[in-house]
């Protein structure tokens, strides 16, 4: 991890002016003492004749964003208190103020060094009030970039399924669970959504009375049938490199993995076992796929090359594993393992070592999908007849519940930032 502090950066979407900043403050020595950098954040102050915000408070969004990155440990400070800061080893604090005029907000965000009160990163934004979360995410991204020279997926989206009785609909939300909205709704069952890129996705729908694969756009709201046959098409997944789609289908009699280009051409069957082969997931370089097969007698995770050659079994512990998601760094695969009647999310290195249980949440925890930066996973937790989507750090800590409707499942995290 690099802990460089670069100078002021003009990155804001509606950045009006930079306030001022120290050219360079070296936090290298300081930050190296901690796993994460302790940062205090104050409640931003409303300007004269501005009613205080009671929702979408930017200081909370910024604090949650920075805490999510694992690079910072956040302390919500009631005031600037050098004694309390010293006790917590806090060397940086964030302050701010805002003025609301009509439907617009003017927001000042200020990152200071505690000891010298030096302003390190100041940004002033003007934006529609409806974009307040976007602005807060932007400032958090700027801090992460300035302090750690890293980026985090604050603008990524999660697409998921809601079970609405007879129908199942597709929904979209921000990475932190905000802005949930319906994106696919019809009289049918819609399941297994997967992003193609930041605005297009594939999913499985029973619109024709059987499971077929459809392709939709978040921009136009339109959709088209993508792959169909007399039999089943299921669990589509898209290569992050070339947009190739892999899916499972029983079109030739047995459930096998197929791949095709994003325009449906070059359809190719790549598994040949007479067992069930399902749930493909691409390696981040598009060169391999992990998938589930019961060729050993029980569902287990396997890896093969993109043309289906060199299949080899990856999981051996447990007698029922499915739902593999290949991490974006390429080194780990997450999957769901059914043991003693309940699922938990596990990760394993692609060489088959270091299998490790990640979730330790009450309930059955399955359907993992990695965040675009590989630091987190989303998964579905089912308990008491209700299922909701949670996020968790890849080391098993920092669990956050993202949905509360009790009928959410099958999350897919976009690879966008």
């Amino acid at each position: 991890m690099q802990r460089r502090l670069i100078g002021l950066m003009f990155l804001g979407m509606t950045l009006v002016s930079a306030l001022c900043a120290a050219d360079r403050v070296n936090l290298e020595v300081y930050a190296s003492k901690f796993d994460s950098i302790p940062v205090a954040i104050l409640k931003f102050k409303p300007g004269a004749s501005t009613t205080a915000l009671t929702q979408n408070e930017p200081w909370k969004i910024i604090a949650d964003d920075l805490a999510f990155t694992t690079r910072f440990s956040m302390y919500r400070a009631p005031r600037i208190d050098s004694v309390a800061f010293a006790q917590r080893n806090i060397a940086l604090y964030i302050d701010g103020d805002y003025t609301i005029v009509g439907d617009n907000i003017e927001l000042n965000c200020l990152l200071y060094e505690v000891g010298t009160k030096t302003l390190i990163l100041g940004k002033k934004y003007q934006a529609p009030l409806s974009d307040i979360r976007v602005v807060a995410h932007r400032y958090a991204a700027d801090i992460l970039s300035a302090i750690c020279n890293e980026r985090a997926p604050f603008f990524s989206k999660i697409i998921f399924v809601k079970d609405e009785g007879k129908t199942k609909t597709l929904w979209l939300m921000d990475y932190d669970g905000a802005n949930q909205r319906k994106v696919v709704s019809n009289e049918s069952i819609n399941i297994f959504p997967a992003f193609m890129d930041s605005t297009r996705f594939v999913w499985v729908s029973y619109l024709r009375g059987k499971p077929d694969i459809y392709k939709g756009s978040l921009i136009t709201g339109k959709s088209d049938i993508f792959s169909y046959s007399r039999y089943i098409q299921t669990s589509p997944t898209v290569s992050p490199i070339d947009g190739k789609v892999a899916f499972a289908s029983s079109r030739e009699g047995n459930m096998e993995i197929y791949t095709c280009d994003s325009d449906k051409s070059n359809l190719r069957r790549i598994t040949t076992s007479n067992a069930i082969d399902i749930s493909p997931t691409w390696s981040p370089n598009g060169g391999q796929l992990a998938f589930t097969s019961d060729r050993s007698g029980s569902p287990q995770i396997y890896i093969m090359d993109r043309d289906g050659s060199n299949p080899k079994r990856l999981t051996f512990e447990g007698d029922y594993q499915d739902g593999a998601s290949w991490g974006p760094k390429g080194d780990y695969i997450a999957y769901a393992s059914l043991q003693s009647g309940k699922f938990d999310v596990w990760t394993i290195k692609v060489d088959g070592t270091s299998a490790q249980q990640i979730t330790n949440v009450v309930g059955s925890n399955e359907y993992p999908c990695w965040s675009p930066d590989g630091t987190h996973l989303v998964f579905v937790c089912t308990r008491g007849g209700k299922s909701d989507i949670f996020s968790i750090r890849a080391n098993g800590t920092d669990v956050h519940q993202l949905t509360t409707s009790g009928n959410a499942k099958m999350p897919d995290w976009s690879l966008t930032y």
């Binding site: 199942k168 069952i189 399941i191 297994f192 029973y206 009375g209 059987k210 499971p211 007399r230 039999y231 089943i232 299921t234 669990s235 499972a248 029983s250 459930m255 069930i276 399902i278 749930s279 589930t292 019961d294 569902p299 029922y320 499915d322 739902g323 769901a336 059914l338 009647g341 699922f343 399955e366 359907y367 007849g385 499942k409 099958m410």
Partner: protein, 185 residues
């Protein structure tokens, strides 16, 4: 689309019912007649007696109801063991009845839907549900039911008969099933 053959077949069946005397004669219902009959022309002094046997839509409704009843009685859901698509003794009994019915009505085309209980993954259950539907289709083929009359699909664990079973095994058992849907008559 309704096939002429089936209408004919059902007519025969209804007729047979009359001969053996186990079915009451289908009698016209005045309310129904009033709905479907055109208003009597003013010049006619006496109301015309409408023979419902010539009333196509009435007959059609009767036949549809009759077919629906027979489908309900003969195409019964069949059940499976956990994580299995093997046909059990009980399953085979119900399937024999269904196969006989399908033999008697050669124009019926049906969709066999395989379902699973909520244990196990969504993905694997899609495959398991289809295995169940295909097992049923194969069994029907031993009765000479042609493949083109049988579609198979899977709902995996997406459409349970009794959701949220928790640890209730009897509840789970009701969800591990194959159901039938008539596609064409």
């Amino acid at each position: 689309m309704k096939s002429r053959h089936l209408v004919f077949g059902l007519s025969l069946l209804l007729g047979l019912g009359l001969v053996v005397g186990c079915k009451p004669k289908v009698s016209p219902m005045p309310e129904k007649k009033a709905e479907v009959a055109p208003p009597a022309p003013a010049v006619v002094e006496k109301p015309t007696v409408v023979d419902t046997s010539d009333n196509a839509s009435f007959r059609e409704a009767q036949l549809a109801a009759e077919l629906e009843r027979m489908v309900r009685e003969n195409l019964l859901a069949v059940y499976f063991e956990y994580n299995s698509s093997k046909l059990t003794q009980e399953t085979v009994g119900n399937l024999g009845k269904a196969a006989k019915f399908l033999s008697d009505y050669p124009n019926l085309r049906i969709l066999v839907q395989g379902h699973c209980d909520e244990r196990g993954s969504s993905e694997y259950n899609m495959a398991l549900g289809e295995s169940r539907a295909r097992a049923v289709k194969e069994y029907f083929s031993t009765y000479g039911i042609q493949a083109h009359r049988l579609e198979v699909t899977s709902y995996g664990k997406e459409r349970p008969a009794t959701p949220n079973c928790g640890s209730d095994d009897a509840c789970h058992a009701k969800n591990r099933r194959a159901e039938f849907q008539v596609l064409a008559k």
